[in-house]
Symmetry: C2
Subunit: 526 residues, 2 copies
């Protein structure tokens, strides 16, 4: 297996030299456009399909991208990752988050432990704990049931689990799976914890402290904040707290927690939604059966990601098209636009997943690369975004590729018919209309009302946002980001870029500063 920079691949060099471009205003018009919709589609897990008809590709470009995939050995590299190779070379770690939801390769034995067994054992422990909370075996100091679960974590311990909770909250309410409210405290800004504590009943709340290392300053600070509040309310914090951490962390064996559930160094924070990090809060909120269905969806998507042929592998294909857009067409950003209010924080999760994984300037050997890597990711749910930043997407001077997501059915099954259509139909009509407006544009002699078109998008369409669909959606983007890291020859699993700020913040707090750092610290009243 060879790790080579993108610009050294013969298939890539050939594609770069090929000046051929797809004009979407033509390609998406008339019968040819309709035919593309049928043809440029690949099945995903969770009953979804990835449609890329409105991307600036054609059979020739797709063939070239398949050659890039083969030469880069993308399938081989994913297999190596699944087999437990040390893919995170900088930190000398394996990358095992897929093992939390399935086993795609050989048994991975690390320090004598079968890692798949380790992760499923934690899931069983969590499931057991959650059931006891739900059936009243585990109660508060007054013998009363818990009604709220509060996650204390930041970054990957917050964004993914929060986005997943919001994605399934209404679905669970509708379908009788809703067990407990979930809330989240993340920011070291004390107003964050204060705000959450003001709107919950601490006596009936379980707090989940999530920190792999057990040393994340924001999280430990918020833990103390919450403990003080519990004590002030005459409650015993050790009856209200559980920990999700690594076995070697100071939190692991503490008597200050009702229980501790484990993850390890082989699961990065931003890839941890399917580990105990997402498992504890989602199992408490919706029950372990729903968490298991979420994992099943992710596992189904992971299996598709093993296919060597990109035309059958939606994550790999999405990754290749993204690199084509970034490095050949020169687009700097990607917008994620789910037409589902339940996915309101999914773009924020993808923003971390993608930008923290591939926002890097050196390859996996620590050598500077000569090409751009991860784009800026942003987004908000449609139709809200349509009334906001879509103006720039349609008529701005930069082209921003778009990732739409849509479902045929809503979650809550409440709807109204206005002007001969339901809200759900209006929602779907809007996303279909947007794809075409972006692709084909509109001629107009009034240049103010003219749309150039040629603004590429893809859409993932599913029946309904179920636990399985959500799991598949999550795994799709995890695997897309992983494949893009392979293509760019990056290590997508470390995050050295967050370290310098931490070091300097410590210096500020120790009053060990001078120059501009001291000047800013003074201005901020530290």
């Amino acid at each position: 297996m060879e790790w080579k920079n993108l610009d050294t691949l013969a298939a890539w060099q050939k594609l770069e030299k090929d000046g051929h471009r797809v004009d979407l205003t033509e390609a998406m018009s008339g019968e040819e456009g309709a035919a593309r919709v049928g043809k440029y589609a690949v099945s995903m897990g969770g009953g979804m399909t990835y449609y890329y008809a409105a991307k600036q590709v054609d059979d020739g470009i797709l063939k070239s991208l398949c050659e890039v995939a083969a030469e880069a050995g993308l399938a081989e590299k994913f297999a190596a990752l699944c087999n437990g190779e040390v893919i995170n070379t900088g930190e000398k770690r394996r990358v095992l988050h897929q093992l939390t939801r399935g086993q795609l390769g050989n048994d991975v034995i690390s320090d004598g432990v079968n890692k798949r067994t380790f992760y499923t054992d934690q899931q069983k422990k969590i499931a057991d704990f959650a059931r006891k909370v739900h059936n009243g075996e585990i109660v508060n100091e007054n013998g009363e049931r818990f009604t709220t679960a509060v996650q204390i974590g930041i970054g990957g311990s917050d964004l993914g689990p929060r986005a997943m909770y919001l994605a399934l909250e209404n679905w669970a309410r509708k379908n009788g799976f809703f067990k407990m409210d979930a809330r989240f405290i993340s920011n070291v800004d004390p107003d964050d914890a204060a705000s959450v504590l003001q709107t919950i009943d601490p006596a009936h709340s379980i707090f989940i402290l999530v920190s792999k290392s057990g040393t994340t300053l924001e999280t430990l600070t918020n833990e103390t904040f919450v403990k003080e509040a519990l004590k002030d309310a005459g409650l015993d914090p050790s009856r209200h707290m559980i920990a999700v951490t690594s076995e070697t962390s100071p939190l692991a064996k503490s008597s200050e927690y009702l229980a501790a559930f484990f993850m390890d160094d082989y699961i990065g924070g931003r890839y941890s939604s399917t580990s105990a990090v997402g498992g504890a809060i989602l199992s408490l909120a919706f029950g372990p059966e729903i968490f298991a269905r979420f994992l099943d969806g992710a596992a189904e998507e992971d299996r598709l990601s093993t296919y060597a042929d990109p035309m059958k592998n939606p994550a790999m294909l999405d990754a290749l098209i993204g690199v084509y857009e970034r490095n050949i067409l020169g687009y700097p950003c990607t917008a994620v636009l789910p037409y589902s209010q339940a996915l309101s924080r999914f773009p924020a999760h993808l923003q971390q997943l993608d930008m923290e994984s591939n926002g890097k300037s050196v390859n996996r050997f620590g050598e500077p690369v000569n090409y751009v890597t991860g784009p800026v990711i942003f987004g908000e749910p449609g139709t809200n975004g349509q009334h906001s930043f879509y103006q720039l997407l349609h008529q701005g001077t930069d082209i921003i590729p778009l990732q739409f997501i849509g479902f045929r059915k809503n979650q809550a099954d409440m709807d109204v018919d206005i002007q001969n259509s339901t809200s759900q139909q209006k929602l779907g009509a809007n996303v279909a209309a947007q794809i075409m407006a972006f692709a084909c544009g509109k001629q107009d002699d009034n240049r103010n009302k003219y749309f150039a078109g040629n603004r590429p998008s893809s859409i993932i369409i599913g029946e309904q946002l179920t636990p399985e669909a959500l799991g598949a959606l999550l795994a799709h983007f995890e695997n897309k980001v992983m494949f893009q890291g392979f293509i760019w020859n990056l290590n997508s699993f470390d995050q050295e870029g967050v370290q310098l700020g931490k070091v300097l913040a410590k210096r500020v707090l120790a009053h060990d500063t001078d120059g501009a750092l001291k000047a800013f610290s003074d201005l901020l009243g530290i």
Copy 2:
């Protein structure tokens, strides 16, 4: 007054030719860096200051930018706007949102109406209504007080008011000004309304229907959704609804509302937070006195924006530096990073404000421009972002200018001391540290741990996020965006780019489609 394209200005051409660049790794180091912090600062309203020491400017570049401001006639154009000139030429409308909070020019008389008087009359009507709700004069059909206000609106009728409400919620709770909970329904996705309705008590809720035209499909659909729910609960919708709309809209004189408050065509949705659009919900939530304080902060900032000298005009200076970064340094995006959880949705509001105003490719005469215009805007609160997308900001291949916001005091006045510092101190230490990490970087032989630096940022620092500070912050960015529109010679006050999608969506709902549009509509089950 001349409207000229940026690239035709002699001062701009001179600046473009000047290859001189500021190296922040030098400029921000040592005593020179400390001196810059003191020197590159300008007072804002609400007790805040705009610091731009960590921007890639020096005295020479600033002098050139001042020449651009003078040649572009920025102050003159703002004065014309304040005096009621038809600045929104495409829609042939005046631009009068500043009149909702002050009077900076001559009386503006339109169709025989003094517009300042019109806006303040609406504020008085709203204040009167809110007081009656608060003191129990206006009650539900059972004679009980209202406890919750729910805004139904989308785009500018949602993002700004929502961000402002969240910004002051904890401050109001802490300081005894909290009157009513506020909630928001915006998306046409029926799960949005369903979700809000599930978590409020409709019997004690007032719904505020916000639509300038009275024809926004999403908003009317959600109104019907809510009315059905009220009727199903045995309630009389006309006892629970008020309207914020224009006097000429179908909603204006309807008997279906408890009251109607007016705005007009001279206030764009994204500039409407200080009009009745923000006034109704904020006055109900916090009381009219707090809304008035918010307006005072905006008015103070507006007055600073009238100064012709950019060195005394923070919005104009911010605008000029932004154009320098966009058009000369070539940066495609800007990140907004408030170190205050209360500002969690402020970046989403700025995303609309900026991208919808200046995401355009034609000048105010409808002629294509030869330069890039509005950047992509995105952001999340720090410290959360630090554990997410900051990796790319520090070590990615693109440079993203950063707009930090920080305060010396938090809002809730609850805090804990951990490892010899409070949470608030940790928050401030982090933002100070980030500015320096981005500016100066760090040398390291291990390229994986190397930070190139030269990543520019500015920071707005205030004492506390009060109503006055929030108003000033809002007006600062409104005026910055306006000045950038003047510099780029755009009409920042229309949004033709949102029209095509609406037209096509109607065709889908009428089943008047063919080709790819029909194919996508079928896939989405319409």
